[in-house]
Symmetry: C2
């Protein structure tokens, strides 16, 4: 397994793969890897085969964090990440520093962003206004640096995956975007590097997100008619906030293609929610 | 010479070149080609050699025109353009339709833009607020569709060339950006497809831009000390507007790297100006 830290070296390697017809599969991560990431790496391997190369990028991208957010405290453990990547059969780990990704020469500071203007508006885009601009910019950079044939994203970040797909289509990146299912703990909590922020008690209460999703599903599936989104929303909020540490940021029901909110919820709609558990903001989503 | 009208076909061709190690040089144009474009095509050929391929794209990109601008009337003559390309030894002319470049499926409209936020602010960015967003987006698309090793832009659009260079650097496009000198008529008027809008009398008066540039050069070069930009600006405006059809939109003196205005003008500064001659808006620029 090769560790690459410079953009130029990574790009040379990618160009060589292009010339030799080697298929590359990319899994962009912010590190602190867990079983969810492992499932993305397996998916990438599946797509490029044993003669292809799997690249894991590990980069905590500053442009997708607001100044008030957890950039400085985002969990990092590169030694462990490398070991997990090696065990997962990753060919190249790309770990650029900030000076590599956002070089800042005096008078020529970084100034170009990729902005998706429709799908980014709701949900995470409301709570985190510059988040998706940062994500789209970093992903566009990684696509140009690594030139993968496929890139695999997790379904846990549903809106992000939709935006990356839209970006790839709109800007004609020749990259197939794969979205792999969310991996969950035994009690249903979606795996996330941020789960490590939770105290033992908060961890127990964090199952509220998954229980909310299940309540929504059950309510919709056992009803003979569509359920008003506002009613479902109130019920879920009530259920989730019976946990003393939990505070709902948003719960939304929407069309999984357009991300447009639906007034009445039926099978096939998507639910997404963000909940603070203590100081930790968790997200989850599922098809109803 | 091959004419390609679909994005998918162009991208397949580009991928094949990548695999075969064929170097591609791109000259993005809006068609209605003139000797300025021919010089860009020659430069592209120089860079990729006879075993490389030169691609001319011809596309009047709607996203870089404001609703009030001349999109509908922008001059077009595809038959003549093709002949000029063939004579210039172009290998592929890429002529996509709007439905190819900005496909619009209901509920999934085009929504991703590339935005440069520093160099775009002044000059053309003031007069044409969404212009460079459109340019950067279209150029990013062309880079992803054609995957050139080099792309050649004309120095006449100085700010555009600076923004494209910045975009390529910031988003890590593996494309070398070449800027080729402005080609001029015998009296100094910079070649532009928009010159065809000029009446015979306006055409005579249009030389005012070049005369203004020469006055600025002469004033600065014969002075022992830097000249206040505001004074030079007034003098040039006066000179240019002695022509009855000419009205100055802006005249700016700036650092050619950062595009930041300079208060005092000396050798090495850049001048750029935009002047309406009748209803036609012309631009020009030069190193002082």
């Amino acid at each position: 397994m090769r560790i690459v830290t410079s953009v130029a070296a990574m790009q040379r390697l990618a160009m060589e793969w292009n010339r030799r017809g080697v298929r590359a599969g990319l899994v962009p991560t912010m590190g602190y890897l867990h079983e969810g990431h492992m499932s993305l790496l397996r998916k990438a391997r599946e797509r490029v085969g044993n003669r292809g190369v799997v690249v894991a990028s590990i980069y905590v991208n500053p442009t997708q964090f607001a100044p008030t957010e957890d950039l400085a405290h985002y969990p990092r453990d590169l030694a462990r990440d490398k070991k997990l990547c090696r065990d997962a059969g990753v060919d190249v780990v790309f770990v650029p520093g900030d000076h590599q990704m956002y070089p800042s020469r005096h008078g020529a500071e970084f100034s170009t962003y990729v902005v998706e203007e429709t799908l980014s508006r709701g949900m995470e885009g409301v709570s985190r206004p510059t988040h998706f601009r940062g994500v789209a910019t970093a992903v566009a950079k990684l696509f140009n640096i690594i030139r993968p044939e496929v890139a695999v994203f997790g379904a846990k970040d549903f809106q992000q995956a939709a935006i990356v797909k839209r970006m790839a289509r709109d800007l004609n990146f020749p990259v197939k975007i794969i979205v792999a299912p969310t991996v969950r703990e035994a009690d249903g909590l979606a795996l996330s590097s941020r789960n490590r922020y939770l105290s033992a008690e908060e961890r127990r209460q964090a199952v509220a997100l998954w229980q909310g999703i299940q309540l929504a599903r059950q309510t919709v599936r056992t009803s003979t008619r569509p359920i008003p989104a506002s009613r479902l929303n109130s019920e879920l909020k009530w259920l989730i906030e019976t946990r003393p540490a939990a505070r709902v940021d948003y719960i939304e029901f929407f069309d999984p293609e357009t991300l447009q909110p639906v007034a009445k919820v039926q099978r096939g709609a998507q639910i997404a929610l963000a909940v603070f558990v203590g100081k930790t903001r968790l997200i989850d989503n599922a098809r109803i």
